[in-house]
């Protein structure tokens, strides 16, 4: 059983230097974020906290993708690691209220990884069901 594309609301939270820069490059190539994805930009991954992520869900998102620069690539040095830690803190709260783990995803990227960003957006959906009986 194949799954169709998931167009339920999604929020993309990312820092300017990673996702922000990538989105600008994609725009130059004529590619844009899908309509159901809302882009919320921060200047540095270090300012991403669990409240921001919870508010994204509160505003109607069913899926949230958090993106920052990789550890070692962050201009503020620890911003990326902080973003990851705060995302996990949010995940823990979400799990306590029954949200499935797959609804929140964290990735690191550089500005030249726009294609990966679009793919992650595409992949952020419920895990495919196993087919039963004969394949």
């Amino acid at each position: 059983m194949t799954q169709g594309p998931d167009t339920s609301p999604m929020v993309l939270i990312g820092c300017q230097r990673s996702a922000g820069a990538a989105l600008e490059r994609l725009a130059v190539e004529g590619r844009a974020l899908p309509e159901h994805v809302e882009w919320r930009s921060v200047s540095c991954g270090g300012s991403i906290d669990e409240l921001m992520i919870l508010e994204a869900f509160e505003s109607g998102a069913e899926r949230v993708l958090v993106v920052s620069c990789a550890a070692g690539a962050c201009r503020s040095v620890v911003g990326g690691e902080r973003a990851k830690a705060r995302t996990e803190a949010a995940r823990s709260v979400l799990q306590e209220i029954g949200f499935e783990e797959w609804r929140l995803r964290y990735e690191t990227m550089a500005p030249n990884m726009g294609v990966d960003l679009l793919r992650w957006i595409d992949e952020l959906k419920a895990p495919a069901e196993q087919s039963v009986g004969d394949a």
């Binding site: 669990e50 409240l51 508010e55 869900f57 509160e58 979400l94 306590e96 209220i97 029954g98 949200f99």
Partner: protein, 222 residues
């Protein structure tokens, strides 16, 4: 400082689920410092409660507030309208704050969102450990500034027990043996001879064993 941690959210939900409106009130003193019940934690818990209500198809009003110090009535006075207009108050203060609110507003239903753990200190970011259990008769001068009542699992006054190994307590390998700490500290300050003194049985009346306690400063009471 008083160290507390937030209760698991499912437990909090069981307490507040039935209420049409909940005022979530934090405290910006001890529990803010241990990142359990300050303004930020109030915001996160409130968001979680709203999300849970939405998921469960419930209508629930969640209002956030935070006071400087919930154990002192003067700081809680501005809450009077909030408490009057909400069915339930979820306090994110320590047990003292929760009870102060409840005593100050006897018709309010005040529930605790935190588990108050102990009096302790931060060891490193995100880690706090117990240092004092308020026995009411401090003997830290006898033990090089290390409290055997609080930090020895068996509160031995003539320790260590036979289970001290490699400086760790037999109860938990991450727990330092208080008597190893005492020994090292007394050695460092040149007071090892204190270890030879036989400490008599403790008078526990000054501790909680003597009943709930009170301190009164006669010179200050009007």
């Amino acid at each position: 400082m008083i160290v507390a941690e937030r209760k698991p959210i499912p437990e909090i939900l069981d307490m507040v689920r039935h209420a049409a409106s909940v005022a979530v009130v934090g405290c910006d003193t001890c529990v803010a410092i241990c990142m359990a019940g300050g303004t930020k934690e109030v915001a996160v818990l409130s968001a979680a409660l709203r999300l849970a209500a939405k998921r469960e198809g419930r209508e629930q009003l969640i209002t956030e507030a935070c006071v400087e110090r919930q154990c002192e009535e003067e700081f809680n006075e501005p809450l009077v309208d909030l408490l009057a207009t909400h069915e339930l108050v979820l306090s994110m203060a320590c047990g003292v704050g929760v009870q102060t609110l409840a005593e100050q507003y006897p018709s309010a239903i005040v529930y605790p969102a935190l588990n108050t753990r102990f009096m302790g200190r931060p060891e490193e970011l995100g880690t706090w450990s117990e240092r004092c259990l308020g026995c009411g008769n401090c003997v830290l001068h006898k033990f090089g500034g290390v409290c055997p009542i609080t930090r020895c699992s068996k509160n031995l006054l003539n320790g260590p027990c036979g289970g001290s190994e490699d400086g760790k307590c037999e109860v938990d390998p991450d727990l330092p043996c208080a008597w190893q700490l005492i020994y090292d500290r007394l050695a460092a300050i040149g007071q090892l001879e204190r270890l030879w003194e036989v400490e008599p049985p403790k008078d526990w009346t000054t501790s909680r064993d003597g009943g709930p306690r009170k301190v009164v400063r006669e010179d200050i009471v009007p």
